[in-house]
Symmetry: C2
Protein backbone atom coordinates (compact mmCIF):
# COMPACT_ATOMS: atom_id res chain seq x y z
CA UNK A 1 0.00 0.00 0.00
CA UNK A 2 2.70 2.41 0.90
CA UNK A 3 1.33 5.11 3.20
CA UNK A 4 3.18 7.91 1.51
CA UNK A 5 6.80 8.47 0.87
CA UNK A 6 8.16 11.19 3.00
CA UNK A 7 9.35 13.07 -0.02
CA UNK A 8 10.14 16.03 2.05
CA UNK A 9 13.33 14.32 3.08
CA UNK A 10 14.54 15.27 -0.38
CA UNK A 11 14.66 18.94 0.55
CA UNK A 12 18.15 20.26 1.13
CA UNK A 13 19.43 23.50 2.48
CA UNK A 14 20.51 24.77 -0.88
CA UNK A 15 17.09 24.22 -2.37
CA UNK A 16 14.78 27.07 -2.94
CA UNK A 17 12.13 27.63 -0.29
CA UNK A 18 9.43 26.98 -2.90
CA UNK A 19 10.79 23.53 -3.50
CA UNK A 20 10.72 22.74 0.22
CA UNK A 21 7.15 24.00 0.33
CA UNK A 22 6.17 21.80 -2.60
CA UNK A 23 7.75 18.71 -1.10
CA UNK A 24 5.93 19.32 2.16
CA UNK A 25 2.64 19.85 0.35
CA UNK A 26 3.17 16.63 -1.56
CA UNK A 27 4.11 14.73 1.56
CA UNK A 28 1.02 15.82 3.53
CA UNK A 29 -1.35 15.16 0.68
CA UNK A 30 0.06 11.77 -0.22
CA UNK A 31 -0.11 10.65 3.37
CA UNK A 32 -3.74 11.62 3.75
CA UNK A 33 -4.70 10.27 0.35
CA UNK A 34 -3.08 6.90 0.93
CA UNK A 35 -4.85 6.60 4.26
CA UNK A 36 -8.20 7.43 2.72
CA UNK A 37 -7.62 5.02 -0.15
CA UNK A 38 -6.66 2.22 2.20
CA UNK A 39 -9.60 2.77 4.53
CA UNK A 40 -12.09 2.99 1.67
CA UNK A 41 -10.83 -0.36 0.51
CA UNK A 42 -10.72 -2.01 3.92
CA UNK A 43 -13.99 -0.63 5.17
CA UNK A 44 -16.14 -0.53 2.07
CA UNK A 45 -14.24 -2.48 -0.56
CA UNK A 46 -14.31 0.49 -2.88
CA UNK A 47 -11.61 2.37 -4.79
CA UNK A 48 -11.15 6.11 -4.85
CA UNK A 49 -12.19 6.58 -8.51
CA UNK A 50 -15.40 4.67 -7.86
CA UNK A 51 -16.05 6.71 -4.75
CA UNK A 52 -15.43 9.87 -6.76
CA UNK A 53 -17.80 8.83 -9.50
CA UNK A 54 -20.53 8.16 -6.96
CA UNK A 55 -19.82 11.55 -5.39
CA UNK A 56 -20.33 13.19 -8.77
CA UNK A 57 -23.69 11.49 -9.16
CA UNK A 58 -24.77 12.31 -5.64
CA UNK A 59 -24.42 15.98 -6.51
CA UNK A 60 -26.63 15.58 -9.58
CA UNK A 61 -29.77 13.66 -8.65
CA UNK A 62 -31.07 13.98 -12.20
CA UNK A 63 -28.04 12.04 -13.43
CA UNK A 64 -25.19 12.66 -15.84
CA UNK A 65 -24.23 11.35 -19.26
CA UNK A 66 -21.11 9.23 -19.67
CA UNK A 67 -19.42 12.10 -21.48
CA UNK A 68 -20.23 14.57 -18.75
CA UNK A 69 -18.89 12.15 -16.12
CA UNK A 70 -15.75 11.75 -18.16
CA UNK A 71 -15.30 15.52 -18.33
CA UNK A 72 -15.93 16.09 -14.63
CA UNK A 73 -13.61 13.33 -13.56
CA UNK A 74 -10.98 14.41 -16.07
CA UNK A 75 -10.64 10.85 -17.21
CA UNK A 76 -11.09 9.38 -20.69
CA UNK A 77 -14.34 7.74 -21.68
CA UNK A 78 -13.20 4.14 -21.65
CA UNK A 79 -12.37 4.38 -17.99
CA UNK A 80 -15.78 5.75 -17.11
CA UNK A 81 -17.37 2.86 -18.97
CA UNK A 82 -15.41 0.42 -16.82
CA UNK A 83 -16.29 2.07 -13.53
CA UNK A 84 -19.96 2.44 -14.42
CA UNK A 85 -20.05 -1.20 -15.51
CA UNK A 86 -18.74 -2.30 -12.12
CA UNK A 87 -21.06 -0.08 -10.15
CA UNK A 88 -23.99 -1.13 -12.29
CA UNK A 89 -23.18 -4.78 -11.59
CA UNK A 90 -23.38 -4.01 -7.92
CA UNK A 91 -26.63 -2.15 -8.54
CA UNK A 92 -25.29 1.08 -7.10
CA UNK A 93 -25.81 3.09 -10.30
CA UNK A 94 -28.07 2.70 -13.32
CA UNK A 95 -27.87 3.65 -16.98
CA UNK A 96 -31.12 4.98 -18.41
CA UNK A 97 -31.65 5.48 -22.12
CA UNK A 98 -32.49 8.99 -23.15
CA UNK A 99 -35.48 9.82 -25.23
CA UNK A 100 -34.25 12.09 -28.01
CA UNK A 101 -30.75 10.66 -28.42
CA UNK A 102 -30.44 6.94 -28.46
CA UNK A 103 -26.64 7.01 -28.42
CA UNK A 104 -26.51 8.43 -24.93
CA UNK A 105 -27.50 7.39 -21.40
CA UNK A 106 -28.19 9.13 -18.18
CA UNK A 107 -26.28 7.58 -15.31
CA UNK A 108 -27.60 8.04 -11.79
CA UNK A 109 -27.37 6.52 -8.34
CA UNK A 110 -29.91 3.86 -7.49
CA UNK A 111 -31.64 4.14 -4.12
CA UNK A 112 -29.21 1.48 -2.86
CA UNK A 113 -26.35 3.52 -4.31
CA UNK A 114 -27.52 6.66 -2.59
CA UNK A 115 -27.75 4.83 0.69
CA UNK A 116 -24.36 3.19 0.31
CA UNK A 117 -22.72 6.41 -0.72
CA UNK A 118 -24.10 8.39 2.13
CA UNK A 119 -22.75 5.86 4.64
CA UNK A 120 -19.34 5.98 2.98
CA UNK A 121 -19.32 9.75 2.74
CA UNK A 122 -20.10 10.06 6.43
CA UNK A 123 -17.17 7.83 7.41
CA UNK A 124 -14.90 9.47 4.88
CA UNK A 125 -15.64 12.87 6.29
CA UNK A 126 -14.89 11.67 9.81
CA UNK A 127 -11.49 10.38 8.72
CA UNK A 128 -10.65 13.67 7.10
CA UNK A 129 -11.85 15.75 10.02
CA UNK A 130 -9.76 13.58 12.30
CA UNK A 131 -6.64 13.80 10.16
CA UNK A 132 -6.86 17.59 9.97
CA UNK A 133 -7.69 17.99 13.62
CA UNK A 134 -4.19 19.00 14.59
CA UNK A 135 -4.95 22.38 13.01
CA UNK A 136 -7.26 24.79 14.80
CA UNK A 137 -10.33 26.07 13.03
CA UNK A 138 -8.55 29.34 12.46
CA UNK A 139 -5.51 27.61 10.99
CA UNK A 140 -7.69 25.56 8.71
CA UNK A 141 -9.32 28.72 7.43
CA UNK A 142 -5.93 30.27 6.77
CA UNK A 143 -4.74 27.19 4.97
CA UNK A 144 -7.93 27.11 2.93
CA UNK A 145 -7.41 30.69 1.83
CA UNK A 146 -3.77 30.26 0.94
CA UNK A 147 -4.56 27.19 -1.12
CA UNK A 148 -7.30 29.16 -2.81
CA UNK A 149 -4.73 31.69 -3.93
CA UNK A 150 -2.43 28.96 -5.08
CA UNK A 151 -5.20 27.26 -6.99
CA UNK A 152 -6.25 30.42 -8.74
CA UNK A 153 -2.62 30.99 -9.69
CA UNK A 154 -2.45 27.52 -11.20
CA UNK A 155 -5.51 28.10 -13.33
CA UNK A 156 -3.60 30.01 -15.95
CA UNK A 157 -0.61 27.82 -16.60
CA UNK A 158 1.45 30.82 -15.59
CA UNK A 159 3.76 30.31 -18.53
CA UNK A 160 4.37 33.99 -18.81
CA UNK A 161 7.31 33.82 -21.18
CA UNK A 162 9.26 36.43 -19.30
CA UNK A 163 9.58 39.22 -21.87
Amino acid sequence: MGIATDMEVRARDDHHASLRLWLRLLSCTTRIEDTVRQRLRETFGITLPRFDLMAQLEREPQGLSMGELSRRMMVTGGNVTTIVDQLENEQLVQRQTQAGDRRSFTVSLTPAGRKAFSAMAREHEEWVVDMLSSLSERQQEQLYKLLGNLKRGLHQPSNQETP
Copy 2:
Protein backbone atom coordinates in the same frame (compact mmCIF):
# COMPACT_ATOMS: atom_id res chain seq x y z
CA MET B 1 -2.36 12.43 -18.99
CA GLY B 2 -5.15 14.09 -17.15
CA ILE B 3 -3.87 17.25 -15.47
CA ALA B 4 -5.74 16.68 -12.25
CA THR B 5 -9.36 16.21 -11.51
CA ASP B 6 -10.81 19.21 -9.87
CA MET B 7 -12.00 17.17 -6.95
CA GLU B 8 -12.88 20.25 -5.08
CA VAL B 9 -16.07 20.39 -7.07
CA ARG B 10 -17.24 17.61 -4.80
CA ALA B 11 -17.45 19.96 -1.83
CA ARG B 12 -20.95 20.97 -0.88
CA ASP B 13 -22.33 23.46 1.54
CA ASP B 14 -23.37 20.87 4.04
CA HIS B 15 -19.91 19.37 4.15
CA HIS B 16 -17.62 20.06 6.99
CA ALA B 17 -15.06 22.79 6.42
CA SER B 18 -12.29 20.23 6.92
CA LEU B 19 -13.56 18.25 3.99
CA ARG B 20 -13.54 21.29 1.75
CA LEU B 21 -10.01 22.03 2.90
CA TRP B 22 -8.94 18.48 2.12
CA LEU B 23 -10.45 18.55 -1.36
CA ARG B 24 -8.71 21.81 -2.11
CA LEU B 25 -5.41 20.45 -0.82
CA LEU B 26 -5.81 17.39 -2.99
CA SER B 27 -6.76 19.43 -6.01
CA CYS B 28 -3.73 21.76 -5.78
CA THR B 29 -1.30 18.94 -5.18
CA THR B 30 -2.62 16.71 -7.93
CA ARG B 31 -2.47 19.52 -10.41
CA ILE B 32 1.14 20.36 -9.63
CA GLU B 33 2.17 16.73 -9.46
CA ASP B 34 0.63 15.87 -12.83
CA THR B 35 2.37 18.82 -14.41
CA VAL B 36 5.72 17.80 -12.96
CA ARG B 37 5.23 14.20 -14.04
CA GLN B 38 4.32 15.22 -17.56
CA ARG B 39 7.22 17.61 -17.92
CA LEU B 40 9.74 15.14 -16.53
CA ARG B 41 8.57 12.70 -19.17
CA GLU B 42 8.50 15.18 -22.03
CA THR B 43 11.72 16.94 -21.18
CA PHE B 44 13.89 14.16 -19.82
CA GLY B 45 12.05 10.93 -20.60
CA ILE B 46 12.06 9.99 -16.94
CA THR B 47 9.31 8.95 -14.55
CA LEU B 48 8.73 10.41 -11.10
CA PRO B 49 9.77 7.26 -9.19
CA ARG B 50 13.03 7.15 -11.11
CA PHE B 51 13.61 10.83 -10.47
CA ASP B 52 12.88 10.24 -6.78
CA LEU B 53 15.28 7.35 -6.56
CA MET B 54 18.04 9.45 -8.09
CA ALA B 55 17.20 12.23 -5.65
CA GLN B 56 17.63 9.81 -2.76
CA LEU B 57 21.05 8.82 -4.06
CA GLU B 58 22.10 12.37 -4.67
CA ARG B 59 21.63 13.06 -0.97
CA GLU B 60 23.83 10.09 -0.02
CA PRO B 61 27.03 10.21 -2.04
CA GLN B 62 28.30 7.12 -0.27
CA GLY B 63 25.34 5.18 -1.67
CA LEU B 64 22.47 3.17 -0.24
CA SER B 65 21.54 -0.49 -0.10
CA MET B 66 18.51 -1.77 -2.00
CA GLY B 67 16.70 -2.30 1.28
CA GLU B 68 17.43 1.21 2.48
CA LEU B 69 16.20 2.64 -0.84
CA SER B 70 13.06 0.56 -0.50
CA ARG B 71 12.46 1.90 3.00
CA ARG B 72 13.09 5.53 2.07
CA MET B 73 10.90 5.38 -0.99
CA MET B 74 8.23 3.46 0.91
CA VAL B 75 7.99 1.00 -1.92
CA THR B 76 8.49 -2.77 -1.86
CA GLY B 77 11.80 -4.30 -2.84
CA GLY B 78 10.81 -5.71 -6.20
CA ASN B 79 9.99 -2.27 -7.46
CA VAL B 80 13.33 -0.88 -6.41
CA THR B 81 15.04 -3.72 -8.26
CA THR B 82 13.17 -2.75 -11.43
CA ILE B 83 14.01 0.93 -11.20
CA VAL B 84 17.65 0.32 -10.36
CA ASP B 85 17.87 -2.14 -13.26
CA GLN B 86 16.63 0.50 -15.67
CA LEU B 87 18.86 3.24 -14.35
CA GLU B 88 21.83 0.90 -14.35
CA ASN B 89 21.17 0.06 -17.99
CA GLU B 90 21.35 3.74 -18.77
CA GLN B 91 24.50 3.97 -16.69
CA LEU B 92 23.05 6.54 -14.35
CA VAL B 93 23.49 4.44 -11.20
CA GLN B 94 25.75 1.54 -10.24
CA ARG B 95 25.50 -1.44 -7.91
CA GLN B 96 28.68 -2.17 -5.99
CA THR B 97 29.15 -5.36 -4.01
CA GLN B 98 29.83 -4.86 -0.35
CA ALA B 99 32.77 -6.39 1.39
CA GLY B 100 31.41 -7.98 4.55
CA ASP B 101 27.96 -9.00 3.28
CA ARG B 102 27.83 -10.56 -0.13
CA ARG B 103 24.05 -10.56 -0.25
CA SER B 104 23.89 -6.79 -0.39
CA PHE B 105 24.95 -3.98 -2.72
CA THR B 106 25.61 -0.33 -2.43
CA VAL B 107 23.77 1.65 -5.07
CA SER B 108 25.07 5.07 -6.01
CA LEU B 109 24.92 7.62 -8.80
CA THR B 110 27.57 7.36 -11.48
CA PRO B 111 29.29 10.60 -12.52
CA ALA B 112 26.95 10.65 -15.55
CA GLY B 113 24.01 10.10 -13.20
CA ARG B 114 25.07 12.95 -10.97
CA LYS B 115 25.38 15.23 -13.95
CA ALA B 116 22.04 14.17 -15.44
CA PHE B 117 20.28 14.49 -12.12
CA SER B 118 21.60 17.93 -11.42
CA ALA B 119 20.34 19.17 -14.79
CA MET B 120 16.91 17.67 -14.13
CA ALA B 121 16.76 18.96 -10.59
CA ARG B 122 17.52 22.47 -11.77
CA GLU B 123 14.66 22.43 -14.29
CA HIS B 124 12.35 20.75 -11.83
CA GLU B 125 12.99 23.43 -9.28
CA GLU B 126 12.25 26.13 -11.82
CA TRP B 127 8.89 24.56 -12.64
CA VAL B 128 7.98 24.40 -8.99
CA VAL B 129 9.08 27.94 -8.27
CA ASP B 130 7.02 29.10 -11.22
CA MET B 131 3.91 27.18 -10.21
CA LEU B 132 4.04 28.54 -6.67
CA SER B 133 4.80 32.06 -7.79
CA SER B 134 1.25 33.28 -7.35
CA LEU B 135 1.95 33.24 -3.61
CA SER B 136 4.15 35.92 -2.10
CA GLU B 137 7.21 34.91 -0.14
CA ARG B 138 5.35 35.68 3.05
CA GLN B 139 2.38 33.56 2.01
CA GLN B 140 4.65 30.71 1.11
CA GLU B 141 6.22 30.87 4.56
CA GLN B 142 2.81 30.83 6.17
CA LEU B 143 1.72 27.89 4.09
CA TYR B 144 4.94 26.08 4.91
CA LYS B 145 4.36 26.53 8.61
CA LEU B 146 0.74 25.45 8.52
CA LEU B 147 1.64 22.34 6.58
CA GLY B 148 4.35 21.68 9.12
CA ASN B 149 1.75 21.62 11.86
CA LEU B 150 -0.46 19.39 9.80
CA LYS B 151 2.38 17.01 9.07
CA ARG B 152 3.38 16.76 12.71
CA GLY B 153 -0.23 16.00 13.54
CA LEU B 154 -0.29 13.22 10.98
CA HIS B 155 2.80 11.60 12.42
CA GLN B 156 0.93 9.95 15.23
CA PRO B 157 -2.02 8.39 13.46
CA SER B 158 -4.13 10.55 15.74
CA ASN B 159 -6.39 7.62 16.51
CA GLN B 160 -6.97 8.89 19.99
CA GLU B 161 -9.88 6.63 20.87
CA THR B 162 -11.84 9.43 22.43
CA PRO B 163 -12.19 8.28 26.05
